[in-house]
Symmetry: C2
Amino acid sequence: VIPDPSITIATLTPEGTALAVTWGDGHASRFHAVWLRDNCPCPACGHPETGQRLVETGGLPADLRLADARVADDGAVEVVWAADGHRSRFAPDWLRRHCYCDADRTRRRPRLRSWRADGRRDLPEARYPDVVADPAALGAWLAAVEVYGFALLRGVPTVPGQVTRVAELFGHVRETNYGRLFDVRSVLNPNNLAYTGLALSGHTDNPYRDPAPTLQLLHCLASSAEGGDSTLTDAFELAERLRAEAPAAFDLLARVPVRFRFADKEAELEAEHPVITLDARGAVVAIRLNNRAKQPLDAAPAQVEPWYAAYRAFVALADSPAQQIRFTLAPGDLVCMGNLRMLHGRTAFAGTGERHLQGCYADMDGLRSRRAVLARG
Amino acid sequence: VIPDPSITIATLTPEGTALAVTWGDGHASRFHAVWLRDNCPCPACGHPETGQRLVETGGLPADLRLADARVADDGAVEVVWAADGHRSRFAPDWLRRHCYCDADRTRRRPRLRSWRADGRRDLPEARYPDVVADPAALGAWLAAVEVYGFALLRGVPTVPGQVTRVAELFGHVRETNYGRLFDVRSVLNPNNLAYTGLALSGHTDNPYRDPAPTLQLLHCLASSAEGGDSTLTDAFELAERLRAEAPAAFDLLARVPVRFRFADKEAELEAEHPVITLDARGAVVAIRLNNRAKQPLDAAPAQVEPWYAAYRAFVALADSPAQQIRFTLAPGDLVCMGNLRMLHGRTAFAGTGERHLQGCYADMDGLRSRRAVLARG
């Protein structure tokens, strides 16, 4: 067996407060002493059964120094600590996998893709009997939801309540004031515009909830009404277009909080978030766009008119047919989408005939967890 | 009846793209035309049954101007729009309540308070039979959880599963891979350090979940073991102290993402967030501190040592006994806490005797909703 040069140590240089490593493939890593000690995998520092850290990071000496470092016969890196003589042993593949040089950190960032921008025409979809029977089919379907933000499932039994059983294939239903599931159809005295036959412009659900559900499932039980076509728009893609074309507008939508609200007899929900939420690195991680639930803007007077102009620009992108994926849900079809990424909408539908969807919420972390467990094989 | 001067209009001055108002108490408001038109309450712009907005904000004309504005006999402000002759009518108390001048916006910001910093000695608590029987008692208890970040409930029946019934008094159980509820006691082959007799330093739960649950309930069923005292620390207060005393450290903890992870046979959960999450206005809205679940730091090399120093400073604040609220949970006691605000910990407990808690997760939005509905009277 030829050893993999990328996890073979060529040189090892203890530098007191850091350890410099060059690898067989020429890559250079540098690990700080405090980082190494915090990640010591010995049974005293990490719990052997749970894999959880036992050493209290906050209690590590402030002046950690390496007394010695060497490559053992089995290839492991052995470190001796100056302060207390503690010894740590690191597997070389673990070290290489956790190298935090700029290039490796950039490479490791998750990459989401846009179905539309990828030029795909066929929708990402699977058949219900397949994902129930075949873990690989389920894993591939979940991957589409995570990477592209949505996927369809065909041939789902048209049984009321089935939508929550689909959610339980990979995660946990997020119960809300609408219940474990909700019926989307035209009713008398609606408490929500969703329960009318009106068109709904592209929106994310429940921005008035905190935390908002990160996944939504909609399952079609009946669709004999005229109209009621479904639309999906990848709002992360829209946001990146806005960032490129109108950075000041993007910045306002990411900085100015908007209050969202839902109230009926049983509930009174309010939450405040900008339309675009960025993570600490500046990546777009959530979109809250719901014109129905938007409350009067409570922003600095100088921001009001520019914010409205930015909002208009963003909605214009969202309303562009070129950005929308349009399809018809037939009985037995189910769409699962990232609720803080994909705008979903519908065209108006007529009072004659029936259109009945059932929906439920769930969360992306459960989906990712199931995907990871399935990938273990 | 003497009219309330604060909602009586003294002068009304249409300025084309804005409406200037002075009130009977001398306060001055200025409402932009686009803001007014977006909030027109007429039945064509807002749905009369759901209270949701019908007018598409993105479709409003870009050059909205007031043609005329006057105070009607009933005190309402009537506006006529230049572009299309549309008329809007605003109640004066609604306008005053939504004035977005700097002073009013600052005044409206929610104020959380620190139980410890307020110098309180008695714990915020209520009796279970009271909150079940009396909506006002329930509302007051929920208010304590929201404002102070935690409250105790005494006299909760020591029946397994009771903890989820308490959650359902105000919200919805957040089901996770641990189930609808989980048992906290020492077990063989634990998948989590919580299920050992080890001490747990102050932490927030489930930082590896996205979204993390915002409320946690812990209900004591048995506590004959030696030790196992509970601690609570208001991490929002800690963060503000850090911001005041070491702004560079605060900034690093708010900017550098940390990966958290939990894995066992059934689940593999990972999420990445900074220790301190700020909202768009810079307010602290979430703390993720969980040394057990913290993964190797994946930060720019120049940030690694400063980040560790900042983390150490934050943990030193958290570990200070002066910052901790310490108490013993007896059978029938339940603590409900904001999971992204309060650090909870426990001292070690002995193998003899029994210590058995049941816990569940829920979310703050349901709690706030119930509080708001109860406040309607």
